[in-house]
Every structure is written in structure tokens, then in C-alpha cells.
């Protein structure tokens, strides 16, 4: 229990600022295990925020608890890759060992066990989180040990270090991962370029001639990024130079600043490359952010770190502290007058939708993570209505590389419209899951060969919201011209049932829908129910029509990218793996979604009847 003194120091740390509400709640929970009504009441007064808003915001996030969840909160990662590695049986085993039902808190308040969306450990799964800490490579033996540790109430600090080991598993390095980056080198290289060839380097007349001296540096940075033709690595592939320029040109109202946000929410199942970048290339990422800040004229930055990577927080804070000491952050960075910038880390709480940039900003502001209405876009009205750029972790790392080596150099790597390299997170059915960096334009089959995949049936590129690629397409290329990707590359061999893959993804979307808009809130649940109906053997061609109808509504009417892409896996697998669906069409006639015989179960139980009339005969079940 934190005493109110504990709460006071948390409040002090966050300056009693209501925009920091979520971080304050996180720290309270980290000390107390949950957010009790007492704490809500205390914060209501201290922050002058109505409790309806506190509860409204906290209850949005899967990892914030307004009810006690047990001293040990165990969450099994439930991505399809975890399933393929047997997570369901492992979870059942642990539930049995600890005498607890999935989703419930044990009677003694000791433990609760349930599932969570992909935790980004797909190359070393099956994975779980215990009180927010990731445990990788879970197997039966480990489950037995974990049960023992929980029963003995061993504090996490006494659990074997080995459990929490997270490997980088870098299997192929290219320009970025092989760059042996020296902290500060990009900033200095940029500065040197400004000093010496800066004037010539810029090919845009207007600022070659007209810019005041102090702005030449930022312009040079923008110029290099544009020349490099860098496109965002978060999935959509928006041209980074245009985004930065728009932010730079956005008018500032009195008292406003420009803001740089690094999107490390990495929620797309099957993606874990940002985790590795933050683990082993954090300097590059922060340096990219600093360069961006320099380019757009920002003084404040945020790293939005997904809750699943909370364990990286201390490491990242350490890197930031060192960079401050080395004058790579703070005031007059590397001695450039006016180059002031610092970065704060905001930890997320289990909400995929917060990877969407406007939802992310809402969350940064201490609110529910619902995507905003756009326009206006974040580049003009972002964090607290200030001009804001949001970029992916990898985009910033690439920016650092570009500042170091020049846009011209970068542009010539990759393909015409996809400059540079792409870091892929490879998981699933292959010998060497892990991180692979390739120049853009790499063919799917090359990646499959590199990772030792055999008898591959399909690859899910860019996660559930991406593309299901079938064997006849393996010559296609990973690049914005052909198959764009945020980085996930999940491999499925011939033994896998592609219908179940799609069903897992549909469950993911239904679980992660923010609930803001009607089509996605209800539509993803309806779609999930239909996929479950097929799974349960109640499918008929009528359900196909329904699925198509929902797909259309989701795509056309949804508010954000989550809803738009929620049906992608279903559309793709229906198109490419139709037999997996046909096998589920057990009936020609319309068939109810629920099991009729089971619909009499409670009446049977209460009347103790088991006669013929107390059942729906099997043949009836199969009839109309």
C-alpha cells in the first residue's frame, strides 16, 4: 500500500497535471496492484478531474484495473503464433495447477489468469505477462515452476532471471542494424554538413537564398529527409519529409510548442522490431527524434511505449539520462544555440488502437484512446492542439541514418518508391524466427529462404490488418509499390488451418475495437460471432452473405484504420483459402448460431429430465 505520502510523491513527479492522469494511475497501480476507489477519490480532489472522467479513461485500458486482479496477474499472449506454440494448453495447465478459472480472480485473491493480445514476443513465444513483466519461451515445465512460485507467493524479484530474458534474435543486418551507430554522430554529421556543404546541399532555391542563418540547419535536415524519400515505417508509408514540413509550417498560437512523438505502441500482432530497436538501438531512435525536433522546431518529445514493453522503461530512461549528460538532449544540443529538446516516456496500457496517431495523442493527454475526427490532422492540431508529428520508431532510426550518410545515399537503396531498408519481424513456422533487415523490394520467397521456412502455405504480411499472401504470390516484393508492411511477417506451413488464423485475427479486432463508432464496435463483434459460428459447425452459405455484408460496412463506414482493416484477414483468406471455409459449410439450409440442444441445458438441469423430448435430436440439429 502506498500511503498518501506515496501518492503525493507521484503527484509531484507528474506536476499535479491532469494531462498526466494515466501515468499517475499507472504508478499508483504499480505500487498497489490496482486503482482503488480511495485513490480515485484522492485524485479527483488533487487533480480537479471528475471521477467520471478518471473512471472513463482508466476503464478504457486493458492493463489498468479498477478492481483487484490478484497479487499475481497472469496474461497469456494470444496471438496466432502463441496459439501455434500451444499457449491454450499451457494456460489450461496453469489454471488447473492454481485452481482458478480463466478470467476470474482466485478466491484467496492470489492470482488471476487470462489472455491478452500479442505481446510482441512472437519469435520467442509462447509468452505471458506476469504483473506486466514478459516471460518468454513458456513450456510445461516452466508452467509447473510458475505455479509453484505463485503458490509460495515469491516476489517477482526472486523469480529466475532466465524467465525474463528477451532475445534480440537479429538474423540479418543491413544498413540500419549494421550501422555501429555512435551516439551524437548523426547530429554532428548534420551540423558539419550545414557548416561546409550546407548551402549547396540544398536544392530548393527559396531557402538557399532567403533563410536566416539559424534556420539553415533545420532546412538542411528537412532537405536530406526529403531527398532520401523516406516514408513512414508504421504501415501507411506517408512521406516523412512532407509530414515534417507541414508541422514546421503550421502556425503556433501564443504559448504553443511543436511536439515530436515516437510511436512505440507496436500493437500489430506479429510485430516486434520496435522492441529490438528500443533495446539495442535506442540511441539511434532518440537521435532521430532529436533531429526531427531540430527540423520541425520542436522542444518537447514523447515516446509512447506500449505497456507490454514496460520492462524497457528503466533502460530507456537510462539512455535518455546519458544523452542529457552528453548534451545530446536538453539545452543547446551539441552546442547549437537554440537547439533545445527533451523527451518524456509515456507508458501505454494494453490498447492496440492507441497506435493510431490521433488516439495515441488522446492517450498522451490522459484520456480514452479514441481516434479523433480528422481534419484537423496532428501536424497542425496534435498534442494539446499543438503542431505534432507522430512517427514510428523505425522511421526515426532511419532518419538518424540519413542524417549520418545523406539522403542521396539512402535514396539509392531499395526500390524507386521505397527507399532504404525494412526491418521484418519474422515468426511462425520457420527455423529461425527473429529480426531480418532487407533492402526494400525483397521478394517474399527470399525472406522465407532466409528464415528457414518449409512447406509454407501462407504468410501474413503486416499483421492482421495487412495481407495474407498465398504460395503463388511468393515472388511478390515487400515494398510500398507491391506489399507494404509495418513489419510483421508470420509464416504458416501446410499443416495450418487458415480459417483459424483468420478467426484469431477477427477476435483480436473485436477485442481491440475502441467502441467509438457503431460499425466497428458492433460489426467486429458480429463478425467474431459469425466466425465462431462457422468454427462451431453451424455454418451455411447464408453466413457467407453476412460476412460479406459486414466486411463492406466495416470498410466503408468505420471511423479509423482499425475498423477499415478488421475484415482484411477474412476477405483475404476467403479469396485465397476458400476450401478452409467450405469445410465449415456443414449445412445447406440456414442454421442457428447457437446449439439448440444446449439451449435446453438449464431447463434439463432444473427439471432433471433427460427423455427424448428434453433434447433436440441430432438430425433435427442438422435440419432447417
Amino acid at each position: 500500500m502506498v500511503n498518501s505520502g506515496g501518492l503525493q510523491s507521484i503527484l509531484r513527479k507528474y506536476e499535479g497535471n491532469p494531462h498526466n492522469l494515466l501515468q499517475i494511475l499507472r504508478e499508483v497501480q504499480e505500487e498497489e496492484g490496482w486503482i482503488s476507489p480511495d485513490r480515485v477519490a484522492a485524485l479527483e480532489t488533487a487533480l480537479a478531474v471528475p471521477r467520471s472522467k478518471i473512471i472513463g479513461a482508466a476503464s478504457f485500458y486493458a492493463f489498468l484495473h479498477l478492481q483487484p486482479v490478484g497479487r499475481y496477474r497472469i496474461l497469456f499472449s494470444d496471438n496466432i503464433t502463441d496459439r501455434m506454440l500451444g499457449n491454450q494448453a499451457l494456460m489450461e495447465q496453469l489454471c488447473q495447477l492454481l485452481w482458478v478459472e480463466p478470467g476470474k480472480v482466485s478466491e484467496d485473491g492470489l492470482v488471476s489468469i487470462t489472455t491478452t493480445s500479442c505481446t510482441g514476443m512472437c519469435d520467442q513465444g509462447p509468452a505471458l505477462l506476469v504483473n506486466g513483466r514478459a516471460i518468454t519461451r513458456v513450456d510445461e515445465a516452466r508452467i509447473v515452476e510458475i505455479a509453484e512460485l505463485v503458490r509460495n507467493q515469491a516476489p517477482l524479484s526472486e523469480w529466475p532471471e532466465e524467465y525474463f530474458r528477451v532475445e534480440d534474435n537479429i538474423r540479418r543486418r543491413d544498413i540500419l542494424l549494421d550501422s555501429h551507430f555512435e551516439p551524437g554522430s548523426s547530429l554532428r554529421a548534420l551540423h558539419a554538413r550545414v557548416e561546409t556543404e550546407g548551402m549547396q546541399a540544398s536544392n530548393t532555391r527559396s531557402w538557399r537564398e532567403g533563410l536566416p542563418r539559424g534556420l539553415v540547419g533545420p532546412a538542411t535536415m528537412l532537405d536530406e529527409i526529403k531527398r532520401a524519400n523516406l516514408r513512414g515505417r508504421g504501415g501507411a508509408g506517408f512521406t516523412t519529409g512532407l509530414k515534417w514540413e507541414a508541422c514546421r509550417n503550421a502556425p503556433l498560437a501564443e504559448g504553443q510548442d511543436r511536439i515530436v512523438v515516437c510511436n512505440a505502441d507496436e500493437g500489430e500482432p506479429g510485430t516486434f522490431k520496435d522492441r529490438v530497436l528500443l533495446t539495442s538501438y535506442a540511441d539511434m531512435v532518440f537521435e532521430g527524434m532529436t533531429l526531427a525536433a531540430y527540423a520541425v522546431g520542436a522542444r518537447r518529445g514523447f515516446l509512447y511505449l506500449r505497456g507490454e514493453y514496460r520492462y524497457l522503461l528503466e533502460h530507456l530512461e537510462g539512455v535518455l539520462a546519458r544523452r542529457r549528460r552528453d548534451n545530446l538532449l536538453g539545452h543547446s544540443i551539441i552546442g547549437i544555440p537554440g537547439a533545445d529538446f527533451d523527451i518524456k516516456i509515456h507508458v501505454g496500457f494494453g490498447a492496440y488502437v492507441c497506435g493510431e496517431e490521433s488516439a495515441l495523442i488522446e492517450s498522451l493527454e490522459g484520456k480514452r484512446g479514441t481516434p479523433r475526427n480528422r481534419p484537423p490532422f496532428p501536424v497542425t492540431h496534435g498534442y494539446l492542439d499543438q503542431p505534432t508529428i507522430v512517427n514510428n520508431v523505425e522511421t526515426f532510426a532511419a532518419a538518424a541514418l540519413i542524417a549520418l550518410n545523406g539522403g542521396e545515399w539512402y535514396k539509392n537503396i531499395g526500390t524507386a518508391q521505397s527507399a532504404g531498408s525494412k526491418i521484418l519481424s519474422v515468426s511462425g513456422d520457420c527455423e529461425r524466427p527473429g529480426i531480418y533487415e532487407f533492402p526494400f523490394g525483397v521478394r517474399v520467397v527470399e525472406v522465407l529462404e532466409a528464415c528457414g521456412a518449409r512447406n509454407t502455405q501462407a504468410v501474413q504480411v503486416s499483421g492482421p490488418s495487412g495481407f495474407t499472401i498465398a504460395a503463388h504470390e511468393f515472388e511478390r516484393r515487400i515494398c510500398f509499390e507491391d506489399i507494404p508492411t509495418a513489419g510483421a511477417f508470420m509464416v504458416f506451413d501446410q499443416t495450418r488451418d487458415m480459417f483459424e488464423v483468420a478467426r484469431n485475427f477477427v477476435h483480436f479486432f473485436a477485442h481491440e475495437s475502441c467502441g467509438f463508432c457503431t460499425p466497428c464496435r458492433v460489426g467486429t463483434s458480429l463478425l467474431k460471432n459469425l466466425m465462431d459460428k462457422l468454427h462451431n459447425g453451424h455454418g451455411s452459405p447464408y453466413d457467407f452473405e453476412e460476412i460479406e455484408k459486414l466486411n463492406h460496412i466495416l470498410q466503408a463506414m468505420s471511423h479509423c484504420g482499425l475498423g477499415h482493416s478488421a475484415c482484411n484477414p477474412v476477405l483475404d483468406t476467403i479469396g485465397k483459402f476458400r476450401p478452409a471455409y467450405d469445410a465449415r459449410m456443414a449445412h445447406q439450409d440456414f442454421t442457428p448460431a447457437f446449439d439448440l440442444d444446449r439451449a435446453l441445458s438449464q431447463a434439463r438441469q432444473m427439471t432433471r429430465r433427460d427423455d427424448e423430448q428434453a433434447h433436440f435430436a441430432a438430425e433435427h440439429g442438422a435440419a432447417q
Binding site: 447457437f594 428434453a614 433435427h620
Partner: protein, 183 residues
């Protein structure tokens, strides 16, 4: 004469878990019933013996699905009808009976038979003749394919008339303002 007789459409009605209000409303189409009779032939109400219905062109069904018997009747009826019409709120969304759906049936049964005072011997009837209640009440479209819906509790005679005449003239039935209502 022969020919027109043959062309008459056969219409049947039945009731599941409903209040018969919709049947009453059906009779409300009043004198137009005679017009209708020129063009359709009514089958007996099949509640007593569904097998007797025989194949018919249009079947109107009132009430939702509360118990096993409702399901049997509905399925037989569906098999016999070319066009199946869900008539009234209960058939369309379960209606009043479905307001029990958020409660577990086990709780309802024990509340009614075991714990509430005054109701008999404190036993839940288990006579095999009695159809067992379903865990939840379902609208009929959740169990069979339904072709046409006429909402309302009950739908007005005018609404029913409009749908039937639309169907008889081969049009997709539609109800405009004033005819379509859910209360």
C-alpha cells in the same frame, strides 16, 4: 373457374410464444378480408397439428421462441411455407418474453417455483409432456430463414394488408410512414 381456383394462393398462420394479438390484428383487415379471399385460400390454423398444413405459399407466424415445442412448430412450418412472414414484435425480436433474457433461466425457474411463496409444492414441473423452456427467448430469424418481417405490437391491419397485397402482386413488400411501427 377451375383456372382461377388453381391460381389462388394458399396462406396459413400459426402462433408460437405470442399473445394472439397479431392474429387479432390480422382479422382487423376487416371487409378487405373478403377481397383477400378472392385471391387466397386459407389453411386451417396449424397450431393443433402442424403436419396438416401441407405446402402453402405464404405462412404468417406470430410469437418468438420460448420453448422446445416452439422450435419444432417453427421448423415444420418453415418447411411447408414458400414465403415465411414474421408477424409482430415477438416474432421479430422476441418481444416481451425476451425481456427475461438477461437472467439465467435457472434463476428464473427457482425464483418462480422454488423460492416465491404460494406457488404450489416447491417443485419444478418435470412432466415429459411439457415442452422445456429455452435458456433464452429467440426471435424466429435466429433459427430459420425468414423472408418477410412485419414489425409492430401488434402490427396494424393496414400494415398486414399492405404486405400481403404487395406479395400477391409480386412486389417486394414495403411499409411507408405510419404503417411501419415497432410499438
Amino acid at each position: 373457374m377451375e383456372v382461377t381456383e388453381k391460381k389462388k394462393l394458399k396462406v396459413a398462420t400459426t402462433s408460437l410464444a405470442g399473445c394472439f394479438g397479431c392474429h387479432m390484428s390480422f382479422l382487423d383487415i376487416d371487409e378487405r378480408l373478403f377481397d383477400l379471399l378472392e385471391r387466397v385460400e386459407f389453411d386451417r390454423s396449424p397450431i393443433t397439428d402442424i403436419k396438416e398444413v401441407g405446402v402453402c405459399d405464404i405462412g404468417l407466424i406470430e410469437g418468438g421462441l420460448c420453448n422446445a415445442e416452439n422450435v419444432h412448430v417453427l421448423r415444420e412450418f418453415r418447411k411447408q411455407c414458400k414465403v415465411l412472414i414474421a408477424l409482430g414484435a415477438c416474432a421479430v425480436n422476441g418481444g416481451l418474453p425476451a425481456q427475461r433474457n438477461h437472467l439465467p433461466l435457472t434463476d428464473i425457474l427457482s425464483e418462480v417455483y422454488l423460492s416465491s411463496p404460494g406457488l404450489g409444492n416447491g417443485l419444478i414441473p418435470s412432466d415429459p409432456e411439457l415442452p422445456l423452456p429455452l435458456n433464452q427467448v429467440h426471435p424466429i430469424h435466429e433459427v430459420v430463414k425468414v423472408d418477410v418481417f412485419i414489425p409492430g405490437c401488434p402490427p396494424s391491419g393496414d400494415a398486414i394488408w399492405k404486405v400481403l397485397t404487395d406479395l400477391l402482386s409480386g412486389k417486394a413488400p414495403s411499409l411507408g410512414h405510419g404503417l411501419i411501427h415497432y410499438d
